[in-house]
């Protein structure tokens, strides 16, 4: 059964008309699909079917070990989004981008395609002066209306800086990670393993933490 009815398809298709350049969704699953892997695949296929500008590459987490390594994937379902030159800005979705996270996902497709609003000058400057490697993980649940804003901010940072990689991590799919990082409230933002922020924080709060690392 299709996930989107005709009306939703039309709406999403219209949104995706705004894509400026091609994007590629890289999806990692495996032969014996994990719990949510099958749904994730159907979702991505439907989304890719809505625009000529979206390519979808599907890899097997086990068999395509080279790709898995190239993209640094350590769990599935995993999604990366590449730009028209196949450049990987470091955006990852671990877990299905459904529920409220569909909003982050669609927004990221647009942003990676080149359709994004300019950041304020001072924020841009602060991002450009980041020298250390930064890894942001945003733990979410799919029923959390505040979470997409934290995910979009983290992913925007990844998009703006070669130094930053940012993951959405769906807490109910990766319960062991939620446990490891003591996630009992979402969104919870973990930066370079040790530093954390709770709640949908604005971009300068992310930068405040990053600059102290």
């Amino acid at each position: 059964m299709p996930l989107f009815d005709e009306k939703k398809k039309k709406e999403l298709g219209d949104i995706l008309k705004e894509l400026e350049n091609d994007v590629t969704i890289v999806y990692f699953t495996q032969e014996f699909e994990c719990n949510t892997c099958k749904d994730t695949k159907s979702l991505l296929k439907e989304i890719a079917g809505l625009s000529d500008k979206i390519n979808l590459d599907i890899y097997d987490f086990q068999k395509d070990s080279e790709k898995t390594k190239e993209y640094g994937i350590d769990k599935i379902p995993a999604i990366a989004i590449l730009d028209s030159k196949n450049f990987d800005p470091g955006i990852r979705f671990y877990g299905i981008p459904a529920g409220y996270e569909i909003n982050s996902f669609i927004k990221n497709l647009l942003e990676v395609s080149g359709k994004r609003e300019a950041l304020p000058e001072n924020i841009k400057k602060r991002i450009d002066s980041i020298k250390k490697d930064i890894h942001i993980q945003v733990f979410v649940t799919l029923v959390c209306p505040y979470c997409p804003s934290a995910v979009m901010t983290a992913h925007r940072l990844a998009l703006e800086s070669d130094k930053i990689k940012a993951d959405m991590v769906e807490s109910s799919t990766f319960t062991h990670l939620a446990l490891k990082y003591s996630v009992t409230g979402v969104p919870k933002i973990i930066i370079n393993e040790k530093h954390d922020l709770v709640g949908a924080q604005p971009i300068d709060k992310f930068l405040d933490v990053i600059e102290k690392i």
Partner: protein, 327 residues
């Protein structure tokens, strides 16, 4: 379970024209808050054509935390999130000065008023509309602050999935406490609902819905004394208010749903508050300070509802515009 997709269409299709707030401009009206009162005020000011700015910690306020709304006129049913998106789009279609993410920390009451934000910046304005609403009341027991975000939670709809198969406690027997208990009972192993009074005070329909679950225990006339845990919540200590008997309850999560307090810390000593800490206003939303107006849940106006907050926001905006024209 069918896959849910909560696509927010408007956030992609609407064109937003809001601009960053300018530190060197003197605004006609600055609106503090991002709930229905503030957003309605913003729409009215922009349509009046006065130079307006909006400063808010977040957009939506309490409405974001509301699953379904059935009494906002014009909609038989609408999700809180969806209503907020509509409000936001209506505001951001204007070229309004806009700052989201930071709290106002203090204001001054001179003719040209200043609003200071968390980051130390300040903005200047002739008339202020305060619509900072209400936030969850804290229990004020040992362990609560330390363990907030580590098992102590205030948003059940967001965090319920994290407590699948775990033991949790809900504090508060009103509507929000009962709703939280229902959301949690669906996923958690066990829910203990703790109520200070001798009966639940929520609506009957909700109490009936809660009754269906057999993994919920209700403790009436109990109060929470402390929340224990080093890295995470491990247990709570409650006291039976009749027998004074204390007991420890295992819980990995504690959801606190004991009502709301007005966000007026940053205006204390500037505008007059009532005994509940709400800003006193007259029927034109005027405070005791000329040029400072207030609207919505943060005020002494009875009945806290979305439609009321929105109406009061409109009124405060019109009063503020009037004031600006006269000074």
């Amino acid at each position: 379970m069918p896959l849910e997709l909560n696509l927010n269409l408007a956030s992609f299709t609407e064109k937003h024209r809001a601009v960053p707030l300018q530190p060197n401009t003197i605004y006609d009206v600055l609106i503090l808050g991002g709930g229905p009162a503030a957003l309605a005020a913003a729409v009215y000011c922009m349509r009046k054509g006065v130079k307006t700015g909006l400063i808010s910690k977040d957009i939506g306020g309490q409405v974001i935390e509301t699953a379904g709304i059935e009494n906002y006129i014009g909609y038989k049913y609408i999700e809180g999130r969806e209503l907020v998106d509509k409000f936001r789009d209506q505001v951001k279609q204007f070229e309004i000065g806009y700052s989201e993410g930071l709290k106002a920390t203090s204001i001054t009451s001179d003719n040209i008023k200043k609003v200071y934000l968390e980051d130390g910046n300040f903005y200047q304005v002739k008339a202020l509309v305060i619509a900072t609403g209400k936030s969850s009341r804290k229990l004020n027991v040992p362990g609560e602050k330390k363990l907030t975000g580590k098992g102590v939670a205030y948003c059940a709809i967001c965090d319920a999935p994290l407590f699948a198969g775990k033991r949790v406690a809900v504090v508060g027997g009103g509507n929000s406490g009962i709703e939280a208990a229902i959301d949690l009972a669906k996923v958690a192993e066990y829910v203990t609902l703790i109520q200070f009074r001798d009966k639940l005070t929520g609506d009957k329909v909700l109490i009936d819905r809660l009754d269906i679950f057999n993994n919920v225990t209700i403790l009436l006339e109990h109060e929470v004394l402390e929340i224990n845990g080093t890295e995470k919540v491990e247990s709570i200590v409650v006291k039976d208010r009749k027998s004074d008997e204390k007991k420890q309850i295992d819980a990995q999560g504690v959801f606190i749903e004991i009502g709301l307090i007005p966000n007026t810390d940053f205006v204390k000593g500037i505008v007059e508050l009532n005994q509940y800490g709400e800003i006193k206003v007259d029927c034109a939303c005027r405070t005791n300070v000329p040029g400072i107006f207030a609207a919505g849940d943060v005020t002494s106006v009875p009945f806290k509802q979305i439609v009321i907050a929105a109406g009061e926001g409109a009124k405060a905006a019109l009063s503020a515009c009037d004031y600006v024209l006269k000074v």
